[in-house]
Symmetry: C2
Subunit: 348 residues, 2 copies
């Protein structure tokens, strides 16, 4: 019933050459040690066209060559519901660049029962059918990364990932500088007491670290007080806000929009308003799922470009003569002025 796919031998027979020639022609190795007559090449292409032949990437991979497939492994579902808005642009960039470079994308979708994903299912790394992979997502298992490195499997992480003693290839956003810019902007508007409220989230170590680093650098440069305050969302009550205001804090930095909501409602409980009585900013993209806060001061992560860059880097890794020397790429974010930072009340 199902007609068998044509193989290289079929093409060879039709073109009246040996299978080896077909392979060489297909792989464009017609000018190396071997010279293949123009006519032979033409016959091969004609036969390929006539039979609708397409190389079997699995066999090609086994025989030692590449499959021209890039894996994409995410620690969340690839078509996720929750993080949808955040991850989508990365995937757009990844697809664009893969397309531009004529690679296909192989999505890995491996449940391991527990609901969490892992690269090694039953100990098997199926990423191996691809030439290399893009890894995405914050819930990764460091052990798996280590194992990938040990296997020498080429991959690029989207987002900064550090493992002691290893040099992981990644494409990250410059949270340090972006955060500095936000602080500097607040300072330029007259704020002298700028607090950074964070919720310790072990899952996003590097990203959180970089933002805090940017904050610390900025307050030192500006010689203002460092107020890095651990405060989980549930702890951020109106009383808490009252306390901060009393302490003279006039501007607050948050990592997620979630906190901005809390701030709004806490402020309204106190009869205060944002930004008149208190300025704020988000250290990242206010995802558009939450629209009722207009025009937050924030910065925008170049997610699409990061996706593209990750593909470029990965393909470079796969190429013999690497052209990209630095495998740890950091892209700048774009400051978004927004409207939630205004001069503090006293300076008004």
């Amino acid at each position: 019933m199902k007609k068998r796919r044509p193989r290289q031998v079929d093409v060879a027979a039709l073109a009246n050459v040996s299978p080896a020639i077909v392979s060489l022609v297909i792989n464009g190795r017609v000018n190396g040690n071997v010279r293949i007559s123009q006519e032979a090449q033409q016959r091969v292409w004609d036969a390929i066209y006539e039979l609708g032949y397409v190389v079997n990437p699995v066999a090609r991979k086994l025989a030692g060559n590449q499959s021209r497939m890039l894996g994409v492994f995410t620690y969340e579902a690839i078509f996720p519901l929750e993080y949808h808005d955040f991850y989508y642009p990365f995937l757009i960039g990844i697809e664009e660049e893969a397309q531009a470079q004529d690679y296909d994308l192989l999505l890995f979708t491996r449940p391991d029962g527990s609901g969490k994903r892992s690269i090694y299912k039953d100990g098997v790394n199926s990423l191996q059918v691809s030439d290399g992979s893009i890894l995405l997502g914050v819930y990764e298992e460091p052990d798996e990364i280590t194992r990938l490195l040990a296997e020498g499997f080429p991959f690029v992480y989207v987002g900064r990932r550090e493992i002691p003693g290893e040099e992981i290839a990644y494409v990250a956003a410059d949270y340090v500088d972006a955060t500095r810019q936000v602080v500097a902007y607040m300072h330029s508007q007259g704020h002298r007491q700028i607090a950074y409220l964070y919720d310790h989230d072990g899952r996003r170590r590097e990203a959180q670290h970089d933002r805090q680093q940017g904050y610390i650098l900025a307050v030192r440069e500006l010689s203002i007080k460092e107020q890095l305050i651990a405060c989980s969302a549930s702890a951020f009550t109106p009383e808490r806000l009252q306390h901060y205001l009393a302490a003279g804090i006039t501007a607050i930095l948050f990592e997620t929009v979630n906190y901005a909501h809390l701030l709004l409602s806490a402020a309204s409980v106190l009869g205060k308003s944002v930004p008149r009585d208190i300025s704020c900013a988000i250290l990242g993209d206010p995802l558009n799922e939450i629209q009722n806060i207009p025009d937050l001061t924030s910065f925008s992560i170049p997610r699409r470009e990061m996706g593209r860059e990750a593909v470029r880097l990965l393909i470079d890794l796969l190429t013999e003569g690497h052209t990209i020397e630095n495998r740890q790429i950091t892209l700048p974010c774009t400051f978004v002025r927004g409207q939630t930072v205004v001069p503090p009340p006293d300076n008004g």
Copy 2:
């Protein structure tokens, strides 16, 4: 440098069995035609553990003649910007089911220069690297579908697709019945003059046909006047609306939310309002990108479930003993009452 991975022969040697036994043990086929002694099995597992052996998925796929990869080809970009909201749920369903059945997804991303996509790039069907494919999108080229059929390549279309003389496997939504329900609901609210405004769009033949079919069936059943009116968006002016109102039309069906917008503005120009003076409904999902129309009467397409079902059907197609006999599956839509249909003014 890179230590060579142990292979099955290494395990076999260490366990003192033949490679075939190792394969059988690993694949759990120890109870079929072959019986393998407990001790042998134990030796194999010990050797595997000792060597840190893990099966090479590429070799396994080559030998097993199956790639366990499902292709996903869309006639729009897979991670699209424009149609994002509409296609996303299909992809979610596709991923969920592929995951559940342990298939990987191979995304096809083949630009052909013109910006439009085609399955046959340089005349070659690259989908063939997968075991079978899901096809998605409304701009398909019928010629390509015909060629896929001729090649005997297994695929499932998401959405009804008919080609004379062929039986295409698809998973569709029941637009006929869903449209009937909407008309019936309008009728139950007292409407007797229900118009269906459509813009002829050659690209979505079947989908449009089914909706109109549902409308026609409904008006006949209800013995009301059939008013199937071709009216492009640009032609839908306030004058036009005025004309319809004068003709006694009290409710209008549209295929897209776009028209609902036009209706709202046309009505406001005439000093009329929706739904008080005129009821309306959308024959499909009002995509959430357009939020300023609250609560449209409509029906919801089971997109996620369609995606899942398409994968199930495809995998069934790939399996020796097919269990699904009907390859053309139609799933019901869900009526959404909404608030844009109320009794007509006279009956008020």
